[in-house]
């Protein structure tokens, strides 16, 4: 029985050099995930900044009057629509829209995938951070303001450092989800890890070995990612509570 399994493994990975597909596919998966996470974080935090600034300052700005209130209100409304649309449309559909409609002339498939997954993730990251900011006791914010820090300084020195700690576990969730979502990149012809496994299956007519191999690679990646996050979290919490 073990001989049979060994033969299958040889067939699927070694004999025809298909292991190279897995490596290439895995690299593509990592590449897309890493850049999409970066894009998602940057854009998501900007969205969260707008949304939470509006939530926190709505009353004050309204009372103080001026253009600022209407400007922020308008930008906040656009952000809300963006988040609603992104969360309401399946990411496969978004990916295909980017690939076949918006960025149809792009030379790099990977780039299109990064854009699609990054802008998708941003909507979720935005709500994670907004939730985190709103969960910090308002007393922390008021104490900062009462000492003379302005809104941005209070956010940077006092609220955001506490928010980051609070959102890390949820953020990890989002990154794991994103990593696994990239498995649909095959829909637009990108050879990611999943696609590579599927190609090997098609060539060898052997489903079990390549698919299990792909599953294990995803699993190990997620476990390593989790480990990294747990370490960061522990470091950040060392001195508190």
């Amino acid at each position: 029985m073990f001989d049979e399994l060994r033969d299958k493994i040889m067939l699927c990975f070694i004999d025809n050099g298909y292991w190279e597909w897995l490596v290439e596919g895995f690299l593509h998966t990592v590449l897309i995930t890493v850049f999409a996470v970066i894009l998602g974080l940057v854009f998501g935090i900007i969205l969260a900044a707008v949304r939470s600034s509006y939530d926190k300052n709505e009353e004050t700005l309204k009372l103080r009057g001026g253009v600022g209130y209407y400007l922020l209100k308008a930008i906040n409304f656009i952000c809300k629509i963006y988040i609603t649309v992104i969360r309401g449309v399946p990411v496969v559909v978004q990916l295909m829209i980017w690939y076949f409609v918006i960025l149809v002339s792009s030379k790099s498939d990977i780039f299109v995938a990064v854009i699609a997954f990054g802008f998708n993730s941003a909507a979720y990251v935005a709500e994670i951070f907004r939730g985190g900011i709103m969960s910090i006791d308002n007393g922390q914010f008021e104490a900062g303001r009462s000492l003379g820090f302005n809104y941005v300084q209070t956010m940077i020195h006092i609220v955001i450092p506490q928010t980051v700690k609070a959102v890390l576990p949820t953020l990890l969730n989002e990154i794991i989800a994103l990593l696994k979502e990239t498995s649909i990149a095959g829909y637009v012809g990108i050879m990611d890890l999943t696609k590579a496994g599927d190609l090997i299956r098609g060539r060898t007519f052997e489903a079990f070995v390549p698919l299990i191999a792909v599953a294990i690679i995803y699993l190990v990646t997620v476990v390593v990612l989790t480990k990294v996050f747990t370490t960061i979290e522990r470091r950040l919490r060392r001195n508190e509570r």
Partner: protein
């Protein structure tokens, strides 16, 4: 400029001058503050008492615009801080505030809690800020807790730190919003002692509290608020021994058992 000078002239020795302060919610259906006028002179210790929901906390929080008043003016140090064009952040540096729930920064140790504002806002050097912070900690008997985090302190210790954190900015007035209400009874004394010593040094203070003993002993003026209005004010003696307003009499009969 000329306006400010006139205002200063009229005020005499007033550090804060409040005129017709109103705070309405829900389009005027809830009137947390309904026209409050008050002068707070340099060196005064004004203690504000009243039943819960009387608007006393809202009033105190309006003084540094943590609550934005719906109407009215607050002149602090000759400047109208309710004017949208004035920079409230600069005025707040000179108005220390102490909260019911301490609000120490959870992610910083005690020393950092006290030095971050002087360093970032007053551009003091680390040495200078830390020296001042340590001297103040020593004064409230907490010099050995400089590197502790807020979670490691008792309520009374936290509140003492909160007071000296505000003092690090060298404010001209200190606002206390029910500073002992969240404390265990045995810790109230240590916080009141710090406040008393501050008062004896001539610090201008506005204090919202339920500690009638503190009001009697330390206040230069006691103000009774109810329904968003000032109903009576006077020396502690006048207020506690010879109250006039029926609501004040009723209130005192409930709190002075």
């Amino acid at each position: 400029m000329k306006d400010n000078e006139t205002v200063k002239g009229i005020q005499g020795g007033s550090l804060i001058s409040i005129k017709g302060l109103k705070k309405h919610y829900n389009g005027g259906r809830v009137k947390a503050l309904d026209g409050v006028d008050m002068e707070i002179k340099k060196g005064e210790v004004v203690v504000i008492i009243g039943p819960s929901g009387s608007g006393k906390s809202t009033f105190l929080r309006s003084l540094n615009l943590l609550e934005i008043p719906t109407e009215g003016k607050i002149i602090f140090d000759g400047a109208d801080i309710t004017d949208p064009k004035s920079n409230i952040n600069l005025h707040r540096r000179k108005m220390g505030m102490v909260f019911q729930h301490f609000n120490l920064f959870n992610n910083m140790n005690i020393l950092k809690n006290m030095t971050i504002a002087p360093m970032k806002l007053l551009k003091k050097s680390r040495e200078e800020a830390e020296q001042k912070a340590k001297a103040l900690l020593k004064r409230v008997g907490l010099e050995d807790r400089a590197s502790a985090f807020p979670s490691q302190l008792s309520g009374g210790q936290k509140q003492r730190v909160a007071i000296v954190r505000a003092l690090c900015m060298e404010p001209e007035v200190m606002l206390f919003d029910e500073p002992t209400s969240a404390l265990d009874p045995e810790m109230v004394g240590e916080v009141l002692d710090v406040m008393k010593s501050l008062a004896s040094e001539g610090m201008t203070m506005a204090v919202v509290t339920h500690e009638m003993g503190f009001a009697k002993e330390v206040a230069t003026r006691v103000v009774f608020m109810d329904g968003g209005k000032i109903l009576e004010q006077g020396t502690p003696d006048e207020i506690f021994s010879n109250p006039q307003n029926p609501r004040l009499k009723d209130f005192l009969s409930k709190v002075l058992v």
